[in-house]
Symmetry: C2
Subunit: 321 residues, 2 copies
């Protein structure tokens, strides 16, 4: 058995080769470029973790892990186009470096390459794996569309936001774990619990992310505090504040959102604190985290094998909150 960090290294070693043909460089170099920007490879490592929970890691698990990482990068390229994002992990985004049309196509061909990797999986598991992958890929697209829809709306309620976040970010982590479980020979019950673990962990992570943007320690968080507030993003915190604030506080929030005064971040944070949004968010995160751990607990495997997944959970939740 391997730790979370050992599996990260093992995956990185295998993945850190050219994933594309050496011809048509104008298409494939941009695709390779984003893979080189790095990232924590959490999703493909989830495939390996999910698999090793039940059995030794096979080549098929690596194929699925590679497919998941390619799919994730495909979605990053396309999301960056839609968000007009100039920078990712300190590097130029693909569409800034190579142009939007090439970025669009490089994403498309990366998606095909994901399926090519899935198609290396033993036929006995292929249909099941493809089905889960397809359902998940559709959900990720739906989540991204809902996110864009929400930007144009005045109000979004808590349930809608959880649903969007689940589709946009959590189901891919959940499906990665389940794909690993399928390839490790797990029964359906364990597959579903592992999926539930990943889904709830993903939501807990997003609650934490929204919390840290408002209340994190700038040195530890590594981003400017209040970025979401400045950008008028609908987050767990803002949505909850709108739901629980007094009419006066709500009016003030709307005024701050519409008029963007210089002291906007401080004033919004003060309202958040008044409404105890910070306490609420911490509890919400803990609640999803607890549900995640319960699913892991309920997975029919001896506890000692679950250690690397516990490490993953702690790795994702360790940040100051």
């Amino acid at each position: 058995m391997h730790s979370f960090l050992e599996l990260s290294k093992l995956f990185e070693e295998k993945f850190n080769v050219r994933q594309f043909p050496n011809h048509t460089e104008t298409l494939y170099d941009p695709a390779q470029y984003i893979l080189g920007i790095g990232g924590k490879r959490i999703r493909p490592v989830c495939v390996l973790l999910g698999s090793e929970l039940f059995d030794e890691i096979t080549e098929d698990a690596y194929h699925a892990a590679t497919a998941i990482e390619l799919f994730h990068n495909f979605s990053l390229i396309h999301d960056d186009i839609m968000d007009k994002a100039p920078v990712r992990r300190g590097m130029q985004t693909v569409h800034i470096k190579y142009g939007e049309s090439t970025a669009l196509l490089a994403g498309d061909v990366m998606f095909v390459k994901a399926y090519e990797n899935l198609n290396k999986i033993h036929p006995a598991n292929l249909q099941k794996v493809l089905h889960l992958f397809n359902v998940t890929a559709s959900q990720v697209c739906e989540g991204q569309q809902l996110d864009m829809d929400f930007e144009k709306r005045d109000t979004v309620n808590f349930e809608e936001y959880v649903n969007m976040i689940t589709l946009k970010t959590s189901v891919l982590v959940a499906a990665s774990l389940q794909l690993g479980a399928i390839l490790g020979g797990a029964g359906l019950g364990s597959q579903n619990h592992l999926y539930g673990f990943g889904k709830n962990l993903g939501i807990a992570f997003q609650v934490q992310d929204d919390y840290l943007d408002a209340f994190g320690d700038p040195d530890k968080f590594g981003k400017q505090i209040g970025g979401d507030i400045l950008a008028n993003k609908k987050t767990f915190l803002m949505i909850h504040a709108m739901e629980v604030a007094s009419p006066a506080a709500k009016a003030e929030l709307l005024d701050l959102i519409n008029n963007n005064p210089a002291d906007k971040v401080a004033k919004v944070l003060a309202i958040f604190k008044d409404c105890k949004v910070d306490e609420w968010a911490k509890e919400l995160k803990q609640s999803y985290f607890k549900t995640a751990l319960q699913h892991l607990e309920d997975t029919a495997v001896v506890s000692v094998r679950k250690k690397p997944l516990m490490e993953l959970a702690e790795y994702l939740m360790v940040r100051e909150s």
Copy 2:
């Protein structure tokens, strides 16, 4: 056995339902929209034709045909974004009607839906079918990238152009026929000949298309004559003219391309005729068409079964040239 037109109708009847879920309409309605614009459904019918050449048409053949049509429409949505095309078949393109971000996502999710349809195919054929589909999808992306690369270049030679056109348009027709053949139980030799038939037919069609843009009867062609010339498109005709024209004629062509005078179309056509580009193009088309028919001839099936494929070939080649 069915004629080409009968199969078109059969496919259209099955395909003309909502292909997407009834939720997340902001994503799926745009995807459904382009399917409703119509088109001749030549590629999916090729799957059915390829299949019925060998055996009765199965549900699996319809699944593959549906996947091919969804893939084709995915590529149309994304190509229209890249080409900034406002209109397709007399209707607004998806990105004009719904915005670029939604069009991009609608294309992505249509691509997933194509794979969902492929995944309904019997496991015995799934891996083979997916492999051909993936190779072809990659090639279509490569062809589109090369087409964009060529636009930025001063010169493109004949071989490069044939390669680009083959990837961008012909391999999908070829692969559609081969997918049908695989699902109809054909041997590898017949599969390859059918692929060769489709590929060469596709190139012949493109030569014809380039020819008609310059020399077609406007009433029969249905488009403005000289559109490619006005847009300085590198076509079979222009590329060949640049290769065979005298230094003086070549200089005049370059001058016309760079300065776009009012009588540009007439003058370019005159040079084309001087260089006998029209005769050359007709012969080139015939040459590819002949190669296509030879592949059909060499397919190990009794002649009578090949009649619908002959009809397809004649349907595609019937236009005045």
